[in-house]
Symmetry: D2
Subunit: 259 residues, 4 copies
């Protein structure tokens, strides 16, 4: 097993031995929504805030994110709660405008093969959270990371988020083999997204625990104060109460395994 390289998101270390939770809504919907969720997840010991500004949606008619409208909301809320912030970049031309706003650029599953975007991110000094393409081989994922790291920006964190299989009772098949494989064969930190990896609210907590036990360096979880009314992916969002319970269980587990 290789020694994991530490990636810093502001003052939060990923890969350094502390299990890191990234949490927040799928999409940023309003200032009050982001404020409320941020407060909750911070109280439950999430270390990094997530929230979608530009959304990748299957249909052009679906909600595409607040886009520029979200910028001021993010600025205020991340300052108020003093949390680093990660959000998805979907186009190389967005990088500059997002640069001041985000502390880590997220590259989504559908953009893992977007080598133009990856090459561009290599020119910046911000960490990149690289989600696995939902049908990407480990080898393709590792090589996609090297599109960023081989050009100078060594700050890449991988994120397993489930793969597409024949099974349809879950949204994706969360592949935790990948966590053990990446740990065994690379020095990249890796976190897990059990929200997309299951697509079913009640399966998120057991899969988050399994991720920690498999050796992941953290998780990214969707939390919403009112999942039924969420503008995207509400069916897989945890309530703040569920997230708090999850964090307590994770803490118990990671402390036991560390000893």
């Amino acid at each position: 097993m290789s020694k994991t390289q530490v990636v810093k998101v502001k003052d939060i270390e990923i890969g350094g031995g502390q299990f890191v939770a990234i949490a927040g809504p799928c999409s940023i919907e309003s200032q009050s929504q982001l404020d409320l969720i941020s407060e909750c997840v911070k109280n439950s010991q999430a270390k990094i805030l997530r929230g979608g500004i530009y959304k990748m949606r299957t249909s052009p008619d679906a909600f595409q994110g607040l886009e520029h409208e979200a910028f001021n909301i993010v600025k205020e809320i991340k300052e108020k709660h003093n949390m680093p912030f990660v959000s998805e970049v979907t186009d190389p031309r967005q990088i500059e405008e997002l640069y001041e706003l985000v502390d880590m650029f997220q590259v989504g599953s559908r953009n893992m093969y977007n080598y133009s975007l990856l090459k561009e991110l290599a020119n910046f000094d911000k960490p990149v959270l690289l989600k696995r393409g939902f049908s990407a081989l480990y080898d393709e994922w590792i090589k996609a990371a090297s599109y960023v790291t081989s050009q100078g920006n060594a700050q890449v964190v991988l994120c397993e988020r489930g793969i597409r299989t024949f099974e349809s009772a879950t949204r994706n098949t969360l592949d935790l083999n990948s966590v053990a494989y990446i740990k065994e064969n690379t020095d990249l930190p890796i976190i897990v997204d059990p929200s997309h990896g299951t697509g079913v609210r009640n399966l998120v907590t057991p899969m988050a625990l399994a991720s920690a036990a498999a050796g992941a360096d953290g998780i990214m979880v969707e939390v919403h104060n009112n999942p039924e009314k969420a503008q995207s992916d509400g069916f897989q969002a945890l309530t703040p109460e569920m997230f708090d319970h999850l964090m307590k269980r994770i803490n118990t587990l990671t402390q036991a395994l560390r000893s």
Copy 2:
């Protein structure tokens, strides 16, 4: 979440709250081999012994198991070490002869859809370990179990053993979502086989831990005293030392999560 039904394999309970390890060689190769491995895995707190008598092999030219030659070996060793024994049945005509020998019938992944075999097993009073077909939907797996349970034999334990996907760096993709899904939607106990679920020795331990964290009722692990010389699947077998380490870690984890 449903309450899990308890299945008894002799005096060992699966689904009753204790995490149960089933261990042993892929194939029974000789008396001394089975004796040595049984002693090791018992010392490491495995509760049930496994060992292949009839093997399902892709090619008719591959080693097909010791078949009848293994019968006396099994009788002696399971008595000597006082361990319940599970082995695969591959043909309805084998059930009667295996009945006295095994304490649980295993139905392998390639036979999950063998409804003739399942209907026949419904007529006996021995528990059945039903592995998931490597491309079976959860729903098909649950319905396959009902081929046994709907006829009177209610003693079925499911076993997740990985599914077939595009990824080829691992032998199968271990789908731990299935554990959480089965726990949420059925009352069947479920264990995990991380040996076939990864096909890579060094990935077995993290995936066994992940299985426990996901809520599985146990694991089934291949252990071999000399994996390089094993007649089948040596690449995924743990050494007795690795298995002992695994069991200590599992114990730490399950105790922490139970508290």
Copy 3:
């Protein structure tokens, strides 16, 4: 490309250059049903009759076929219309009783890995139609065929029937690459089942044509006089009129390609 071995089903040759259509209902439901469909498909130039006696069904509560009740029906109808008959065998213990009834034993997709069944079929002198497991590698399929052929019964015809993928708009993904691959790498004849390969009535005809163009030696098609009332798989059955149209198109195509 290897020369294809010819398999004879009574006086019908598969693999000998003539494109052979096997047609009939998914399940035999009654004498009048089989009689009517047989007459139609024979008039449209189908050469072999198909019809399920023992059905493999996901749920134990689904219709399992007429079983013994179908025996006399089959005897009368195949004699009346003078057509060879193929039907699925799902258990090695059925072989003897089916031996006099069928002219070719069909091994279904879910039994491709049922090596006990294949080994038993090797002892008989009837041709075997071996469907591809819905997640079977070409190599596994070819090796499964060798469980029959290596023991003396060289009369095996492969049948591509679609594989399980992430796509759910069709019941299976018909993999016609397999036809070209089998032709290139083996001497086994191969036919295609576009009914299961699509699971959608309106896609059967174009895929049957595509199968012929890819080089298949024949097709197996489900035809039902009243698809809406069929006891199984009615949604993918052609009406006799659709089948007649299909056969005319196939004939045009195969004649053109032969010239």
Copy 4:
């Protein structure tokens, strides 16, 4: 079945009843290479020339295409042979510079979900050849097309190029069900790429024939004068002689089916 909309690539119609072949090298490597191949494929009745300028490669160390160096080559050769030209665009920032050079923009499989790129292409008046993502659902593919068509550019041709499955003997699994499905459910023209769809030279011709029989409006085929020395994907390229043979067979088949 819907009536297919006709897309014009200069004076060549796709979807209008004539089966259209697009051919050329995977990557443009030199002027003499493109010149030679263009002459061959035109003589064999290919109607549109293809050739990669910007390549999507798994590894940043692999050949990425000639990029700007190819521009003058393309200008000369397409004029000399009077053939419309299609090439892949991998970044929205390339559209303007490619606009004068290409007669159809190709969006590759790995960019099917690159909605930024698709939205940008909607602003131009050039046809778009949209390859199916190698794990894309039909529905996602159709909706991806609508990112272009819903904004005004109605000139979209779909291209089936194989999907990723468990089978590894072929590079991809060519899914010809998609051709019949798209014809049945949309009015978009669809062509097939049997080169990527098989990844095996000897399987390209039978799969091209199968595509035509399934109802496709055309094919896109990789042809190289010296496949063993090709800078990318030589193993799946046809020689000019093989391509010529393929075109004669296709012609026979499509004429027969039209009558």
